[in-house]
């Protein structure tokens, strides 16, 4: 309540010795709206801090390594090599160009996972700073999201020749689809990152749980396999699994990004296990809508949980 008044300092609340005029404090919902917009303005004003923190993340990570950024490419490339051998030679996942299929989804997934993984420690790990200086606390988890975003964009740049080589120039043409997916995922990841970072302050062992959560989430997201395969494979009995995967928000972002980077994968008409691969394509408005709704909902929920928690960070870290 009171810090709202402080934020509103210049805009309507009159301060005078002895107190604040109670009737000048705007009531209920208007207050909430003002507060939310003030928070966003405050976040915007803190963009320099956010930029500096992102730079710090990137620099500290690669300062003392000769290969620098290339190290970050090691994991996705190695994973792609291993999974390609397993899922084309041992177990067959029926898509053309499995390596391209996998890496397109995996880079996007990795962005989500690494953002959250970095962000979860961000409040607890910066306890000293939080106790000593005021700044919008949300820049700490957000700095992890944005430094991972830069990784993702660089990785895509490095790998784009390969994707173009195997999937054609449609990859370039459908860049807007890819960028839209990444933009929506950034909003979504920001929400989760803030949520986890805030909750981790009271439940310190959340970060242990986190590893397991993301392991399960990875397999529940169509990264290794196309979504179309799930509905084709699951009979009546396991239809709920298909529904679960469709309910998983990460599914929508991965599918959307892959539509731009790799192309469409649809089930053949006869209802069998045959899949038809298509080149990069424009997304259906509906699937963009679902991704958009997930992104906004997660951001609003994550941000409000975070802000509610953030008030007392200085006492708890």
């Amino acid at each position: 309540m009171s810090d709202v008044a402080a934020v509103l300092g210049g805009s309507g609340v009159t301060a005078r010795p002895g107190g604040v005029d109670a009737d000048l404090v705007p009531g209920g919902s208007r207050l909430a709206t003002l507060r939310a917009s003030n928070k966003l303005v405050e976040l915007w004003r803190a963009r320099e801090l956010l930029a500096q923190l992102v730079r710090k993340e990137l620099k500290v990570r690669y300062r003392n390594s000769a290969l620098g950024f290339l190290w970050s490419m090691l994991t996705p490339v190695l994973m792609t090599a291993v999974f390609s051998v397993v899922f084309t030679q041992i177990v067959r996942i029926p898509v053309d160009d499995f390596p391209a299929f996998f890496i397109a989804g995996y880079l996007v997934w990795q962005f989500l996972q690494n953002s959250c993984q970095g962000a979860i420690h961000s409040i607890v790990g910066n306890g000293e700073l939080i106790k000593k200086v005021y700044f919008p606390r949300e820049v700490l988890p957000l700095s992890h999201v944005f430094s991972q975003l830069i990784h993702l964009l660089l990785a895509l740049l490095v790998l784009s020749p390969y994707l173009i080589y195997s999937r054609g120039f449609g990859v370039l043409l459908h860049l807007p689809t890819t960028l839209l997916a990444i933009a929506l995922l950034t909003v979504f990841a920001s929400g989760i990152a803030m949520w986890f970072a805030g909750v981790n302050v009271i439940f310190r062992d959340l970060q242990e749980l986190f590893v397991v959560i993301f392991q399960v989430w990875f397999y529940a997201t169509p990264v290794l396999y196309p979504l179309a395969l799930v509905s084709a494979q699951m009979g009546e009995r396991f239809a709920w699994i298909a529904q679960l995967i469709a309910f998983n928000p990460a599914t929508w972002f991965v599918e959307l990004a892959r539509l731009g980077l790799y192309g469409s994968v649809t089930a053949a008409d006869d209802g069998g296990a045959l899949l038809v691969d298509g080149p990069p394509a424009w997304p259906a408005l509906g699937s963009v809508g679902v991704a958009l709704v997930w992104a906004v909902v997660m951001f609003v929920v994550g941000y409000s949980v975070f802000l509610r928690r953030a008030r007392t960070f200085a006492k708890e870290v």
Partner: protein
């Protein structure tokens, strides 16, 4: 004035001169002290009974207003809530009850170099630290050279900060912090960092800041710095405002509070000012007003007081201190079994305290107070009721006139000079106090 951006104060960033700089209204801040804090999900699930804790009010019902351009010291013993108060003003903590309003851009020097990262170079850390303190990229660029020059780190700009000495790191932190150029500056006990030269520059910087008419809130145990830097003092004790008024009175009260463990309480707003001190005179033995006296003169302090309400009995306290604030002597009349009273409203009383000033050359001050018989409640304080100087005189140097005399007990004696050697050169210590 150019309107600066601030990440902290946003909507209130532009100073509204018609409003006070800071309003703290009935603020209470509670800390929950867990006897064994459950820190994870597992503990929460295992432990069916609720965690045991005690609530502790770091601040209790604190109210005050600071106008633009005021320089205010917050003093009080450790654990009295000073730092918590500063954190509330800096918005690091939200108040649990009550309201804190700040009007203008606030910068806090609660810890220098908070957020420095050892792996980054000095240059990078200046940018990062500046951003943490709320400067925009352009503002940092504009002040970069000034910061570097102030900290004196030109040659180490591209070296990782982890190789800096701790003193150097603090200097860099201070240099960035003071470049923030806020409307309201909060400082917590950071004056005592770095070498003497850097300290002097830091103080100079703060003086400039104060003289520019900016609002300044300082938390410090260094009472001399407080006296020099601030006009007003807020004395906190166990989370409550004990005193709010002119700095010399506040410092005096705080010293009394620290020296005598009984806590004299002055709360002007609650009307506990039951007595007023109308006049204090320091007289020499022949009844003249004394301002400059010889060592070991007989002096009389005459205190004229007046009851504001009916007073059963009260005690008059006297504290003699040296110019730099060192306590030399304290006396409350009830310690000698002498109380004043009963007094009717408006009835006057004159109390005389006779003493011999066994002091050597220097400047001294006397503070007076009127308390209840137990000394627990303070009803009136005059911080500098009287000042006097002791003239240099031959025969000894130091602080206390021990009236020593020398004889050669065994061996040949030779008189030097005529026995009336000129004044002994003032020792260093005394020269310092002679200044103030």
């Amino acid at each position: 004035m150019e309107q600066r951006r601030s990440i902290g104060q946003l909507a209130g960033a532009a100073v509204d001169p018609t409003q006070p700089a800071v309003v703290v209204d009935r603020v209470t801040e509670t800390f929950r002290l867990f006897h064994e804090r459950p820190s994870g999900l597992k503990e929460r699930l295992y432990r069916l009974r609720r965690a045991s804790y005690t609530d502790f009010n770091a601040l209790e019902d604190v109210s005050f207003t600071i106008e633009h351009g005021e320089s205010v010291a917050v003093i009080g013993p450790n654990g009295s809530g000073k730092s918590t108060l500063l954190k509330l003003l800096a918005r690091i903590l939200p108040p649990d009850q009550g309201t804190v309003l700040t009007n203008g851009r606030v910068a806090s020097l609660l810890e220098l170099g908070a957020g420095f990262h050892g792996d980054l170079t000095g240059r990078e850390n200046i940018r990062l630290n500046g951003a943490i303190l709320g400067l925009s990229g352009a503002e940092i660029a504009e002040r970069f050279d000034e910061i570097v020059a102030f900290a004196g780190v030109e040659h180490l700009l591209d070296t990782a900060v982890r190789t800096y000495s701790s003193g150097l790191e603090v200097r860099l932190g201070f240099a960035v912090a003071v470049m923030v150029d806020p409307d309201i500056l909060l400082v917590d006990e950071v004056l005592a960092v770095g070498d003497a030269e850097f300290q002097e520059r830091s103080l100079e910087r703060m003086r400039t800041f104060r003289d520019d008419g900016k609002t300044f809130v300082l938390v410090s145990h260094d009472l001399e710095a407080v006296r020099e830097m601030c006009d007003r003092a807020i004395v906190l004790d166990r989370g409550r405002v004990l005193f709010d008024g002119p700095v010399s009175e506040g410092v005096e009260l705080y010293k009394q509070r620290v020296v005598s463990s009984s806590a004299p309480r002055v709360d002007r707003r609650r009307g506990t000012r039951r007595v007023t001190i109308d006049d204090v005179q320091l007289l020499s033995s022949d009844g003249e007003l004394a301002s400059e006296v010889a060592p070991s003169s007989h002096l009389v302090l005459r205190v004229r007081l007046r009851a504001l309400t009916e007073v059963e009995v009260c005690s008059v306290g006297v504290v003699v201190s040296r110019g730099d604030g060192t306590h030399l002597y304290e006396l409350h009349t009830t310690w000698q079994g002498v109380g004043v009273g009963p007094l009717q409203p408006n009835q006057e009383a004159v109390v005389e305290v006779r003493f011999t000033a066994h002091l050597l050359a220097g400047h001294y001050a006397i503070a007076c107070s009127v308390t209840d018989a137990s000394g627990r409640e303070t009803w009136a304080v005059v911080a500098e009721a009287a000042r006097f100087a002791v003239q240099p005189a031959p025969g000894g140097a130091g602080l206390v006139d021990l009236s020593a005399s020398a004889v050669v007990a065994d061996g040949p004696v030779r008189r030097t000079g005529d026995g009336k050697a000129g004044p002994i050169p003032l020792p260093r210590l005394q020269r310092r106090q002679a200044r103030g």
